[in-house]
């Protein structure tokens, strides 16, 4: 049992971000950053660089999500910390919030009301996730962190790299720290690469699952949620059970 901002939480709900709560992925954020980080000439060069790296990124994605993260974040090399923070805020405001599934907002609020502390566990960069978490009122998140030298991104990621099994490990450590039982916790993710993360939790839910996760969810009889863009006419019942 924990208390945050007046809310009492009996357990936790861990959410993946890209593809689960928002309909964008890591490539979007990278492309946005590169397209906005410099003057026009530099932007074009950055996008061209990213385009050239796409086959490699695709291969990395097919092989190991961790590799993808490493390859993707390398592109940020040389950008200053404060510039990334500003761009993170901007990206969150202009893109992420617009691509947030409206039904996911209801789910987050419902789970919060049901006593589940919301926690984001994502491979996205921390300068974006922190801005989003602030807007959602989420106090805790795990995101990938760039290493900086003299306030400039080195292009390397700091350990732990939040991907695959590392997500599960982070959840286990967090639960141990907070005295939570993982079997009481809920987990939401969209990708087969999140299988270790989902299986670590007592209540895994496949959200807009890819083909392989869908098959796994059906095999293991997990709930399957599909978020659409449409918003409900009105919110569901409040937690006291009365309208």
């Amino acid at each position: 049992m924990s208390v945050q901002n007046g809310n009492t939480f009996r357990s936790a709900a861990f959410y993946d971000l890209d593809g689960t709560l928002v309909d964008v992925n890591l490539l979007h954020v990278t492309a946005y950053m590169l397209a906005n980080v410099a003057e026009w000439k530099g932007r074009l060069a950055n996008i061209a660089t990213l385009a050239m790296k796409l086959p490699g990124l695709y291969a990395a994605e097919r092989h190991d999500r961790r590799l993808l993260n490493v390859a993707m974040f390398g592109i940020f090399k040389g950008i200053s910390r404060d510039r990334l923070a500003v761009l993170g805020e901007e990206y969150c405001e202009r893109v992420l919030m617009q691509h947030f599934y409206s039904q996911a907002v209801d789910l987050l609020a419902g789970n919060r009301d049901a006593g589940l502390e919301p926690i984001l566990v994502t491979g996205s960069p921390d300068f974006v996730v922190s801005a989003l978490a602030r807007r959602l009122g989420v106090a805790t998140f795990a995101a990938n962190r760039l290493a900086y030298s003299r306030n400039l991104a080195t292009g390397r990621l700091r350990e732990p790299i939040i991907a695959g099994e590392e997500k599960a490990r982070w959840c286990e450590e967090y639960a141990a720290r907070k005295g939570l039982r993982l079997r009481d916790c809920w987990g939401y993710a969209d990708s087969y690469y999140d299988l270790p993360f989902l299986t670590a939790l007592g209540h895994p839910v496949a959200v807009n699952p890819d083909r392989r996760l869908l098959a796994t969810a059906r095999d293991r009889q997990w709930p399957i949620i599909r978020f659409g863009r449409s918003r409900a006419a009105a919110p569901a019942w409040p937690d006291d059970g009365e309208p």
């Binding site: 039904q103 209801d106 789910l107 609020a109 419902g110 789970n111 009301d113 049901a114 809920w186 209540h203 839910v205 969810a217 059906r218 009889q221 997990w222 709930p223 399957i224 949620i225 599909r226 978020f227 659409g228 409900a232 006419a233 009105a234 919110p235 569901a236 019942w237 409040p238 937690d239 059970g241 009365e242 309208p243």
Partner: protein
């Protein structure tokens, strides 16, 4: 017009050609020369030789269907019970809501045109003739899963679908607080909630199909268009225990509660009920042998049975399920009535009992039932263990009036493979209910106290109910409560042909590999003189036990 007049005249004078004498052979006592009996067994059928002396209760033959259902519907709308004719209640400025029974009946789904389509088209034509434009069609799902677009199209027909879907033809959403309103409380303190659109309409028309006597009446509106806040007052262990049986509304706590609520609804809303009854022609054509007494099987019947069994045996699980799902029953309409809810329902009930009731003398020590591949809650889905429990212990055990077919403390043998299979998109909360809640307790009162509220409010299940096609989070609890009178009454439940013994054990049942073994287990305790009754399904039968 002349032809319509003539048809109306024919209808008035027509009487159902059902031969009461045909019921003499509906209770059969087997001897050593009797043929093996056909027993529903999930996606398959068992063909089992039952011990000599076993009493087999067969369903009555199907009543003769009405010659022209459309004419009968028009007649009912023009000559309603305790109400003005529909046309006399209409004016162009009024707001009308039509609520329709959902996919949970009839079972299996009927051949097209569905009776709801027939009733709906005639009602919509009448409304159009009188200039009523503000019309909404609501599928009265209550806490059932939302019907898919294709399912709704099949049920209401192309004409209504094209004109109303999706803005004015939709599923009821019990979790949308803007869509429900509280009408008051009964003298028992039961809160009566209803669809806001229905409650704020000048006229609410309910289109019903009575498959069994449990359906229809006040239950249609007061349950079908109500949220959890209303249902929790009667879908609970105490009310279920007070129901003997669900098929006898006069002795059912569930129906008494729904009646109390329905009276409040009818005081606040102008309800025009249209109820219809169907015969029990579940299987026709090449499968009509399923209705027959096995001792009267012809060579052609035996050949068809062998072919049917061979086909089922050789198909993959998925193909077999799909083949059975695609089957549509050739039900015929045996009556239709319109007007004030209670007057209409009493007429419909009489016709339904005329179809199903079979007089039976005395109870037995052992009752055998076969759970088929379908129940009201797994149409186009999977029959999971909780639903097997609901069908066997809830529905089939309750197919009686007066006294149960099995004596108090007797043994119920339920034939079903009982696999740990669930449909993750239709029954997500069932999985947790089965693996988490039933692992802790099978006691309904304890389940209600410890888990019901949590499941009813669970945001993931609420989301899947509202935006997906999932049954409400609380639904598995209701299915479990449904078996409560049976659980209280019998001493022992044996799952015959159980493929996964741990599934039976989880529900507090004893597994048996075969029906023979199950009978041996039951008679070992009760002695060789134990009396056995087999309730032969399909189709459906209700035993009037003396």
């Amino acid at each position: 017009m002349a032809q319509a007049e003539r048809k109306l005249k024919e209808l008035k004078t027509a009487h159902l050609k059902h031969d009461i004498g045909a019921r003499r052979d509906l209770v059969v006592t087997l001897n050593t020369r009797s043929q093996a009996r056909l027993i529903s067994y999930g996606d398959d059928f068992l063909v089992a030789k039952l011990p000599p002396g076993t009493r087999v209760i067969y369903p009555p033959p199907p009543l003769e269907p009405l010659p022209d259902p459309d004419v009968a519907i028009r007649y009912a709308l023009l000559h309603p019970e305790n109400a003005d004719p529909l046309f006399a209640q209409l004016n162009p400025n009024m707001r009308v809501t039509i609520a329709i029974d959902d996919i949970s009946l009839p079972l299996p789904p009927m051949q097209r045109p569905d009776m709801r389509e027939r009733m709906l088209n005639i009602v919509l034509q009448t409304l159009a003739d009188y200039g009523v434009d503000d019309v909404h069609l609501i599928v009265a799902t209550s806490l059932h899963r939302r019907m898919t677009e294709d399912e709704i199209r099949r049920m209401v027909g192309e004409r209504a679908f094209k004109a109303f879907w999706p803005d004015r033809l939709y599923n009821f959403d019990a979790e949308n607080r803007a869509e429900v309103v509280m009408l008051g409380k009964t003298d028992h303190g039961e809160e009566v909630w209803l669809s806001r659109r229905a409650a704020e309409s000048d006229l609410l028309i309910y289109l019903n199909i009575n498959l069994v006597p449990m359906d229809g009446g006040h239950k249609s509106v007061a349950v079908g268009l109500a949220p959890y806040q209303s249902l929790r007052h009667h879908h609970n262990p105490a009310t279920m225990r007070d129901s003997r049986s669900y098929m006898d509304p006069t002795r059912s706590g569930l129906h008494r509660s729904a009646d109390r609520m329905g009276k409040i609804v009818n005081r606040n809303v102008n309800v025009f009920t249209i109820e219809s009854a169907i015969n029990n022609r579940m299987y026709g054509g090449l499968l009509d042998f399923l209705h027959k007494n096995e001792d009267r099987f012809s060579d052609w019947d035996h050949a068809r049975l062998s072919t049917f069994k061979w086909t089922l045996r050789n198909l993959s699980d998925g193909m077999r399920r799909e083949m059975l799902r695609r089957y549509a029953a050739p039900y015929g309409m045996t009556g239709v009535w319109a007007g004030e809810t209670e007057a209409v329902h009493s007429k419909a009930l009489a016709r339904v009992f005329q179809q199903y009731a079979v007089p039976v003398k005395g109870q037995s020590d052992i009752l055998i039932v076969g759970v088929p591949y379908i129940c009201p809650y797994n149409v186009n889905s999977i029959m999971n263990p909780v639903l097997v429990q609901c069908t066997g212990l809830g529905y089939l055990f309750n197919m009686y009036r007066n006294k149960p077919l099995v004596r108090a403390g007797g043994t119920l043998i339920i034939c079903h493979p009982l696999r740990d299979e669930f449909h993750p998109e239709h029954h997500p909360s069932y999985v947790e209910f089965f693996h988490r809640c039933l692992a802790e307790t099978t006691d309904s009162v304890e389940l209600e106290k410890s888990f019901e509220a949590e499941f009813a409010r669970n945001p993931t299940y609420v989301h899947m109910y509202r935006y997906g096609n999932a049954y409400h989070g609380v639904h598995p609890f209701y299915m479990w409560y449904w078996g409560e009178p049976g659980r209280q009454h019998v001493g022992r439940i044996i799952a015959a042909g159980c493929e996964e013994p741990e599934v039976a054990a989880r529900m507090g049942w004893e597994p048996a590999d075969t029906l023979d073994q199950a009978i041996a287990m039951a008679t070992a305790e009760l002695g060789r003189s134990a009396s056995i009754t087999y309730l032969h399904l399909p189709p459906l039968v209700i035993a009037d036990v003396e």
